[in-house]
């Protein structure tokens, strides 16, 4: 069997490795246009901050691909013929497949800001290896930078720039940091962190126009408050979307919507064509379609597709949601329904009187629905189990210490946190 995988991100590579374990004889090829070897996109900031080399970002040793007999091609796939079962690469090569996996990842969003078409240099995103190249090239000539977009990628770019001694202004459209996932109180803790590190954070402020100098390099940004902020570098981190632009030019594209539309077995509208990872839009038989843009989902979907390539017909179901992140020194763990809960959902909010340490337990009076934990480490496996077991808020508070995951001797002092009932306040702009 000939398996061709497009995209050497985590979804594609996990799919290839799993397929190899399943079938020692399959012919497996991965085509990726961005880098020669799979790297960890999530660690871009650590490379930018000199904590790791580019090579350190690669999760597998290079010889692993040869050992697993997975052929790597550094190229872009630019066309696809469904009847002939071929993909065409920008170098002119044609590959025949029995099964095709699209693991194309995501592309940064850009909106139609005034002046964006005049920009020749100084504008960066923070998603691809080429973005990292641009950031590293521009940083030495940058004294002031502006980062637009108060999400996870934005704050990582801010932290990296600060590390290089750049003065950063952080423009955030919303009234506080990341209302999509955080409550007001958590957002305020992150704001304190940002300000303590010298970031100029401006909430409810949006970019209106990009100004450029004579050479076409970004020189400043006009905001909706009528102020022009000077900068030599502009980071745009306003979310990502599935990378399907190239597919639109294919002779036979699969059905596309937000991403590559797939059913619950992760198969697209075309026979023997699958999709997984950031680019897949999963359309369940009932209910709304969704795109999961996180690392572990890409891995799960990659494994899942590998099984279905061999005819397993497994249906993909996302787990109870969990994720973690780090805002400067403050660690963040979330489990369960937090993102999708409406404003006013009852929560138990517990906060340390002085430290950036808090826990939010979301519930419906009867059982817990989700957790938002800031400032200490938590075992999401246990928190997840409590949600599944429909534990009551009181029971969970009494047993909270069992889910702590801090270092030895370093347990966060939960007893000193002050607890109060607090409805979830999101205060989303518009």
């Amino acid at each position: 069997m000939k398996i061709v995988i497009v995209g050497n991100g985590v979804a594609g590579v996990t799919c290839a490795m799993t397929a190899r374990q399943r079938d020692p004889h399959a012919e497996i090829t991965i085509v990726g246009g961005e880098t020669d070897y799979f790297f960890s996109r999530t660690a871009l900031m650590y490379s930018f901050m000199d904590r790791m080399t580019r090579r350190d970002l690669e999760p597998y040793e290079r010889k692993a691909y040869a050992e697993q007999r997975i052929a790597l091609l550094r190229d872009w796939v630019i066309d696809h013929h469904a009847d002939a079962k071929t993909v065409h690469l920008s170098s002119g090569t044609t590959l025949h497949y029995d099964k095709l996996v699209l693991a194309l990842g995501a592309t940064p969003n850009r909106f139609g800001w005034e002046g964006i078409n005049d920009v020749k240099d100084g504008l960066v995103h923070f998603v691809s290896m080429q973005d990292l190249d641009a950031c590293e090239r521009l940083t030495p000539t940058t004294r002031e930078a502006i980062v637009v977009g108060g999400g996870l990628i934005g704050i990582e770019l801010v932290e990296s720039l600060l590390h290089h001694g750049v003065k950063v202004t952080f423009l955030i459209r919303e009234p506080y940091y990341w209302p999509l996932a955080l409550g007001r109180e958590e957002g305020d803790i992150v704001t304190e962190q940002l300000r303590a590190h010298g970031v100029q954070v401006r909430y409810m402020e949006e970019m209106k126009r990009i100004e450029v100098d004579a050479a076409g390099r970004v020189s400043g940004v006009l905001t909706n408050k009528g102020e022009t902020i000077p900068c030599q570098m502009l980071g745009i981190c306003v979310g990502v979307r599935p990378s399907i632009d190239r597919l639109k030019a294919f002779t036979d594209p699969p059905q596309l919507s937000r991403g590559v539309v797939v059913d619950e077995t992760l198969q697209s509208s075309l026979p023997d064509v699958f999709a997984c990872g950031d680019c897949a839009e999963i359309q369940p038989i009932e209910g709304r379609s969704y795109v999961e843009m996180i690392w572990y989902s890409a891995k799960r979907q990659g494994r899942h597709v590998a099984a279905n390539l061999f005819g397993d017909q497994l249906r993909y179901a996302p787990p109870i949601f969990f994720n973690s992140s780090k805002f400067f020194e403050v660690e963040y763990t979330t489990v369960g329904e937090v993102m999708s809960l409406p404003e006013g959902t009852p929560t138990l909010f517990r906060k340390h009187p002085t430290k950036p340490l808090c826990q939010r337990i979301l519930h419906n009076g009867d059982r817990v629905l989700g957790f938002n934990m800031l400032g200490s480490r938590w075992n999401h496996e246990i928190l997840e189990r409590w949600i599944r077991e429909r534990r009551s808020p009181a029971w969970v508070v009494a047993h909270l210490a069992d889910a702590q995951f801090d270092v030895e001797f370093g347990r966060a002092n939960l007893a000193s946190c002050i607890q109060r009932e607090l409805p979830l306040a999101k205060e989303l702009a518009r």
Partner: protein
């Protein structure tokens, strides 16, 4: 540190195998060369009339000059007693006690010198004492830096505090005091097989029954029990001076350890070879002490003692181990050669210590692998969601510290060990066997 400032550029160079790192490494190796071997080759023969006038150099008077061949003989004893003021050096210094210190058959006797206290001050200027002082300062200054750098992490603060305390007391002050009061110089923070001569029968007379019994008890009871309960970390990153220096002064270079599977293969061959040699040497020494006089056995015992001292103690633990900090990372010795680490590692595999991995939370960023001083590819376990116990792991806790997603936790747990205990798992230790760099579970 910002890389574009001159200081930042220099630090970057020093920490990432730049020119300054190579220079520092050469200087350190040269320092160890002089420390261990300098005296024998570089001190000119001085004229003399009798042995007494050569005492201060530790030589004997032959044909009107202090001859160092005999010194070389004795000196190699030194090599294998790292970083200590040797009793016969003390003897030479104190003149009167020289005969008591070295018995005619070459074994060492307890120092029976009863001279005035004033004489004893001399050895404070001795090079081993100065080396000990530098070493201790390295641990104290580096330790203070670590306590500041990781001030949010109590495991690091407590661990580093203990290392600093053990170094200043058991590994520095106490031995000096013991010498000062003419007691055998004993380092309670070191044990066989690291300090291999503590179980060498030829030294038993020098140390006396109490210390010899303690030596047996420490190595054969305290070490295994503590390691079963807490893993080898209780020793390698809480007590031992080699680990102490690596985790404090060595901090800027901890990330340089080689993470490749080839480095791991080398490690397994090298460390168990040294351990085998150490065990074999000890057995040989016992045999030559217990069995009836046999000149070939005696020669073999003396030979292994010399070569062990020269190759393992002086070269591998000193010159290579510390000298290569800026190039190969801080634990070159601990990871590849230390017989104690090998011994503890095997016990650790049977015990309760493990690194717990939270399922599916790892983002494969690789910081844990990068900052593991033992060159363990922690990421390979973390991204596969496998809790693990690696023989090499010294439990420094830095992987858990640097992980930005809080995936890892060091723990002692009586729960079933997630790793199988078979000969294969001892050799390969996990999925990451000789043939594949990819786990069975992805």
């Amino acid at each position: 540190m910002i890389r574009r400032t001159p200081a930042g550029l220099f630090l970057h160079d020093l920490k990432n195998r730049g020119l300054s790192a190579w220079t520092l490494s050469l200087l350190l190796i040269a320092f160890y060369g002089i420390l261990y071997f300098g005296q024998y080759y570089w001190t000119p023969d001085s004229p003399c009339t009798d042995n007494a006038s050569c005492y201060s150099e530790g030589a004997v008077c032959e044909a009107g000059a202090c001859v160092r061949e005999s010194q070389l003989e004795r000196g190699q004893d030194w090599l294998y007693r790292t970083a200590t003021v040797h009793i016969d050096e003390l003897g030479w210094k104190l003149g009167a006690s020289v005969d008591a210190a070295t018995r005619p058959d070459g074994t060492l006797a307890r120092d029976e010198n009863k001279n005035g206290v004033i004489d004893n001050w001399e050895h404070f200027g001795n090079r081993w004492t100065i080396y000990g002082l530098l070493y201790t300062l390295g641990i104290l200054l580096g330790g203070a830096w670590i306590c500041f750098k990781y001030r949010h992490n109590r495991y690091q603060i407590i661990r580093t505090g203990v290392v600093m305390m053990v170094q200043t007391s058991f590994a520095f002050s106490l031995p000096i005091l013991l010498k000062f009061f003419h007691k055998p110089e004993y380092y309670f923070s070191y044990m066989w097989p690291l300090k291999i001569d503590y179980l060498d029968p030829r030294n038993f007379a020098y140390y006396g029954e109490g210390l010899v019994l303690w030596g047996f008890f420490a190595s054969l009871a305290v070490v295994p029990v503590m390691t079963l309960l807490y893993g080898k970390r209780w020793y390698c990153s809480w007590v031992c001076g080699c680990g102490g220096l690596a985790n404090t002064f060595g901090e800027p270079w901890r990330h340089l350890s080689n993470k490749s599977s080839n480095a791991w293969k080398f490690e397994k061959v090298a460390i168990y070879t040294v351990m085998g040699v150490a065990f074999f040497s000890t057995a040989l020494w016992f045999a030559s002490a217990v069995l009836p006089e046999s000149s070939s056995l005696h020669a073999a015992a003396t030979g292994t003692r010399k070569w062990y001292g020269l190759v393992v103690t002086a070269s591998l633990s000193g010159a290579i181990g510390t000298g290569l900090y800026p190039i190969g990372g801080t634990r070159v010795w601990c990871r590849n050669f230390c017989p104690m680490a090998a011994f503890l590692g095997i016990i650790q595999k049977l015990g309760r210590f493990r690194i717990r991995v939270k399922k599916e939370m790892c983002i494969s960023c690789g910081l844990c692998s990068k900052y593991c001083e033992m060159g363990i590819d922690v990421r390979s376990y973390a991204q596969a969601g496998l809790s693990f116990t690696r023989a090499a792991c010294v439990g420094c806790g830095l992987c858990a510290e640097v992980c930005p997603r809080g995936v890892l936790r060091l723990e002692n747990s009586a729960k079933v060990d997630p790793q199988e205990l078979s000969l294969v798992s001892f050799l390969d230790e996990s999925w990451k066997g000789a043939s594949s760099s990819v786990p069975a579970k992805i």
